[in-house]
Structures are given as C-alpha cells and as structure tokens.
Amino acid sequence: MNASRSRFLGGLGTAATLALSFVWAFPLLWAVSTALRSEEQAVAQPLRWLPSPATLSAFEGVIAQGNLTRWYLNSAVTSLAITVITIALAALSAYAFSQLQFRGKNVLLWVFLAGLMIPFEALLIPMFRLMNDLGTVNTYAGIILPQIVSPIAVYVFKGFFDQVPRELHEAAVVDGAGEWRILWRVFVPLSANVLWAIGIITFIAAWNNFLWPFIITTSPDMMTIPLGLTQVQDAYGLRFARTMAAAVLGGLPVMLAYLIFQRRVTEGFLTATGLKG
C-alpha cells in the first residue's frame, strides 16, 4: 500500500519534471516552429502549433542577405583566437607557478586573486581608450586582446599541475628534458581533460560575449554574432519567420558545441567555479 503510493507519487514527480523541461524548452521550440514558416503563416490567426507546410524560405532569406555569414566568420575567428591564446598564456604561467622556483610567486598569486574582485565592466572606459590609442578600434585585435587574460584559468591549471606526482617531473629532468619539453610532453597530456574543459567554456564565453564587442566594433561588418543579431529586429521588422531563423542560426553553434561536448562543458563550469578539481 505504502510502496504503491510512493511509486505513484514518484511517477507524478517524473511527469511534472518532464512537463517543466518541456515548458523550459518551449521558447526554443517555438523559435524553430516559427522559422520554418512563411511570413504570412508566422502571423496567421488562429494560432497553429506546427508549420504547415514547413518551408526553409526564411532561412534562405536570412542567409542570402549575407551579414550573418560575415558575423559567423568574425565570431569564429575571434573566439578561436581568444581561446587558444587564453589557454596558452594560462598554461605556461601555471606551469611556472606550479613547477618552478622564483621570487615573488606568492605575491603574484595574491595579486591575481585580489584582481578577481574588479569586474571587467568597470574597465570599459580605460580599455576603450587603450584600444583607441593602439589603433585597434573596430578590428579583430581590438575584440581579442582584452579577452585573453584569465587568472581563473591560471588557478585551475596550477591546481592540476600541482597534483602531478613530483617524481614524474624529476624523472623527466634526469632524462635530460628541459622544462618546455616537460610541460608539452608530460603536463599537457596529463591535463588534457581540464585543458579541453576550460577551453570549451572559454570558447562559449568568447562567442557569447556581448559587452566588449559592442563597445569596440563600430561597423556592421566587424560585428560578432551576439552583436549582429541585435540588428536583425530592426532590419526585418515584422518579418518574424526571418527574425527567428536568424536567432536559430545564431544559437546553433553554441548549442551544438554544448550537445556534443556536454560532459566537458559541465566539467569546465564545475572546475572554473571551484566545485570540482
């Protein structure tokens, strides 16, 4: 009696969870459903849940218009560059902090920690001024450079390098390997998981960054996806199928990246917030 009642309640809970997850996914599903319609069908009354007939004309219209492809390119180039440079800078210095002896190590680590208190948002004005003085406003360099410094990545990598048994480092030294070689041949392969995890969340964050590209780009051809999509609403006005097609295309790369690398993304967020490591 008690068991069947609790099984009934459990089933009810599962059903409620599934229903809520459907509600949560609804805005996305509705965007896809709208994007697959003709413009007339998108605003037709009474409401229809599914497109009939489904058409790709909105997607074709958005792609033919051209800007979106350019924004994809800008986002891909800048996000990849940001990811590679961030990981390389952080891994190199994390290795030095973890494995090498030098003066001022702890002071530097403390400075980084204190620096985390200062939000990037508070630095927009001097950062813009710096980029203006360097002549990099509205360029890839201008988008990339302020996003390559990640003390959190240094901390995470240092934490992982610290866990590598000291004997491995010593054995490699005895074998005559230099520090660069040891980093590349021993530490990087051993930490491949965390490098990938932090790499993927760095990429997603760079791809999604709105604020900085918004400040530093001045013309539509230099915009990244998050920025370019804000133009779509004005450009398409009441053409909702096209607006939703643009939104779906804009969200697709990061959604695919997440679905393919779900485990690594999860790991990345947990490591970066210190819940796992």
């Binding site: 969870t17 200062i118 939000p119 004005i125 400040i215 779900q262 917030t273």
Partner: protein, 302 residues
C-alpha cells in the same frame, strides 16, 4: 641536480655549474610567465589605474582631461540619476537572485531523481544558458510581442511587456531567470551528487523521510553550493547590462536604467568619460562591499 650526484671536478666548477643551472631555471620561469604577465599588466592593471585616474579628471572618451579633484564624486553623490540607476539595479537583483537560485535547486532535485532521460532533461534546462544574449532577447520579444506573439494569441493580453513601467523590469527578470537557471541547476546537481547515499540511508534508519531528509540532510550539506551561487548571482545581477540595453534601452522613463547602462550612456553617448569613470569606480565599490557583506553573512550561517 645531476651535478650534485657526481663527485668529479673541483668544488668551484660544481658551484658555477649549479649557479648557471639556477640562472637558466629563473630564465625559463621568466619566459614562461612573461606572456601572461605582460598581457595582465597591459589589459588589466593599466586600465585599473587609468579608471581611477580618469575619475578625477574631466576626460573625454579619447582625450585625458584636466585634474579636477573629487568633483566627479561630489557630483555623483548629488546625482539623482545615479541613485535611481542604483535603485533599479537593486530591484533587478531582488527579482532574480533568490528566485533563480531557488528554482535551480528545485530543478536540480527533480532532475537528480530521474532515471530515464536524465541527460536529455538536464540538457533541456541547460541549453538556454549557452545561448548568446541577443538570441534570448529575440526569442522573448517574439513570444511576448503584443500583437502577434503567442502569449497574446493564447491569452488575448496586449500588454507591451517591455514598454510598461510596471512590467518592464519584472519581464526582464523572467527572461534572465529562464536564461540562467540551467547554470544554477548544474552546480546544485554536482552538490547533490557529492552527498553520499549512506548519509540518506542512515537518516532514514533514524526515521527521517521526505521533507525531513531535505531539511536535515540535503539543505545543510548543499549550503556551500547555495552560498557560492547566491554570491555569484548577486554579483552578476549587479552587472546586468545586455538584456536591459537590448530589451528596453533603460526605458520606459528610465525605469530600467541600471548602473552599467547609466555608465555606458554617460561615457559613450555623452562622451563624459571622466564622470563615467567615477560611476565605474562607485560601481566597483558597491560590488566589493556587497560581496564582502554577503561573504560575512553567509559564512556566519554555516
């Protein structure tokens, strides 16, 4: 290190060799640190110092102005627009921080007990979080469109959600909660999985069940994750800008103009970068105070 093992050679030669090894180790360390440190100096420390410097000048966006002492700060304290932007930011924090954390906990508990389709359901809740902000705003502008949106079609309501003083900020808050709850769920799920099954078994042997298990096991053992999330959410809610800028541009009647929006308008629209830098410094101080205060409050509970 190898030269300490070998006894060959006179003392002095060994010492120089070791000295050289140490110097080359220091050089290696310097070379490995240099790229990060240079970038850190140029793209972090330098802007930090300049933000402070600009805040006591009448700088424009591209020219450093004259030193004018603390007058930007005096102006700030007397500026009703600044205080109202601070109030609007606080209102947004109030509408989002606790709700999104609580909802994240609820969803995590619900997803955690699923056996079938667990990863799939988890992905559904998490997916919005990986979307760029402008995709999120496009979706919701369409759903809430007062003439053609689905909310209008289903309920007949023709409220202009983002254009009405009483609904603008709460709607921005709902959109933000939808967007970010997945992150909270993810961290809570990790916290739940860290609680050993044996603890629950022992507690149920002692007669605890249902809500009792939650009250005496789950809640206290999750507290570290809860405090972490409350802190992260509070800080990120104080930094709100993009959603507000895109959805309402601070309107209607400045009712959603948050601190960063005000700073942006002052610096990049009015080109008053000196005064905007004072706003930036104040913004930093607010974040610092709030996080210190919260850290103190939350650690006392634990």
């Amino acid at each position: 290190m190898r030269d300490t093992v070998s006894n060959a050679g006179p003392m002095s030669a060994r010492v120089t060799r070791r000295g050289r090894a140490r110097r080359s180790a220091a050089l290696t360390a310097a070379l490995m640190l240099a790229p990060f440190l240079l970038a850190y100096l140029l793209f972090f420390i330098f802007p930090v110092l300049r933000a402070a410097q600009f805040s006591v000048t009448d700088s424009s966006l591209t020219e450093t102005g004259r030193y004018i002492g603390p007058s930007n700060y005096v102006r700030l304290v007397q500026d009703p627009d600044f205080w109202s932007s601070l109030k609007n930011t606080g209102y947004f924090a109030l509408l989002t921080v606790i709700p999104v954390t609580a909802l994240g906990l609820l969803v995590a508990i619900a997803v955690n007990r699923l056996i079938l389709a667990r990863n799939f359901v988890q992905a559904l809740f998490f997916l919005p979080y990986v979307l760029p902000v402008s995709v999120v705003t496009l979706l919701w502008q369409w759903i809430l469109n007062s003439s053609f949106g689905i909310v209008h079609a289903l309920t007949g309501s023709d409220v202009a959600w983002f254009n009405t003083v009483s609904t603008a900020m709460p709607t921005v808050a709902v959109v933000t909660i939808w967007w970010t709850v997945g992150f909270n769920m993810l961290l809570f799920l990790a916290g739940l999985q860290n609680i050993p099954k044996e603890v629950y078994e022992a507690a149920s042997l002692d007669g605890a069940q249902g809500l009792g298990l939650f009250r005496f096991i789950t809640w206290p053992l999750l507290w570290p994750v809860t405090t972490l999330l409350l802190t992260l959410q509070l800080i990120s809610s104080l930094k709100i800008f993009a959603q507000v800028y895109i959805l309402t541009a601070g309107g209607p009647f400045n009712s959603t103009r948050v601190v960063l929006e005000y700073m942006y308008d002052t610096a990049f629209q009015n080109l008053d970068a000196g005064y905007a830098s004072a706003i930036a410094v104040a913004f930093f101080v607010v974040i610092l105070l709030v996080s210190l205060l919260q850290a103190a409050l939350l650690s006392r509970r634990a």
